[in-house]
């Protein structure tokens, strides 16, 4: 299981990676913006993507649109703050699979993984 975590906050990426590790997922790729994430996605077999919305260079929505041009099935889960919930509608229209609201607990992350790993098997 290869998981891609995209966030311009190094701390958020580290916390997500640590949490995923405790859930048994060790193959975690990290991207600090959409540009980097898109390259990682093209060069690796990624099973699930967790992406932030507000990022420099290429934001989460732009990344979503680019990935959907080449892969319509990979689960893409937006990590967002409560205040950005309105953006979820726009993301859904562009093919987002789900969203996870910050601050999130390991249980929240596990729930999304279970849901979408199940969906792809």
């Amino acid at each position: 299981m290869n998981i891609l975590v995209v966030d311009d906050s190094a701390m958020t990426r580290m916390v997500a990676k640590k949490t995923l590790g405790t859930l048994g997922y060790e193959n975690v790729f990290e991207g600090e913006d959409g540009v980097q994430a898109l390259e990682i996605f093209k060069q690796n077999s990624i099973d699930v993507i967790f992406t932030d919305w507000n990022m420099p260079n290429m934001n989460g929505l732009e990344l979503l649109i680019e990935i959907r041009k080449i892969n319509k099935d990979v689960p893409i889960i937006m990590i967002t703050t409560e205040g950005s919930r309105s953006k979820v509608v726009e993301a859904v229209q562009n093919g987002i699979s789900d969203y996870l609201v910050k601050p999130f607990t390991p249980a929240n992350l596990k729930e999304k993984l279970s849901k979408w790993i199940g969906a792809t098997v």
Binding site: S9, A10, M11, K18, N54, T81, E82, G83, P103
Partner: protein
Amino acid sequence: MADLMEANLTANIINPVLEATIETFDIMLGCKVTRKELQLKTRETPFYDITAVIGLSGGTNGTICLSLPKETAFEAVHRMIEMMPEEIDELVCDAVGEFSNVVGGSAKDKIKDPDMHLGLPNVIYGENHHIEFPTQAHPMYVKYDSDIGPFMVLFGFVAG
């Protein structure tokens, strides 16, 4: 009259900000916090060692600041990634910025102003740093005690 309106505006935003702060520290750090009384901020009110500033604009314009002693910030990082920083570095700034981002986003949702936009956080640190609030705002602050140390939240808003 204008002063009263501005004071009411600030009052309407206080509870969402305070609730968002407590929730964020609880969920992100497993940290129980106790708030102290609300106080008016003056130019003499000192900030702690590191402060994240996040702007809200749109229907309401204003600023939320999250200010922590370095020891509190270090312990927050330690709780999140099990690594204790020795100085205020990029990772500590990143963490404090992220806390403020989550507090601001959560507060924005609770304020329920669809025209309100949340900016990206900026982080300032160093002895005796100071942050100005919008002119005509009535900035306030609340200090908190927690099991990772003290911190405070400052905020001030004016109608857009």
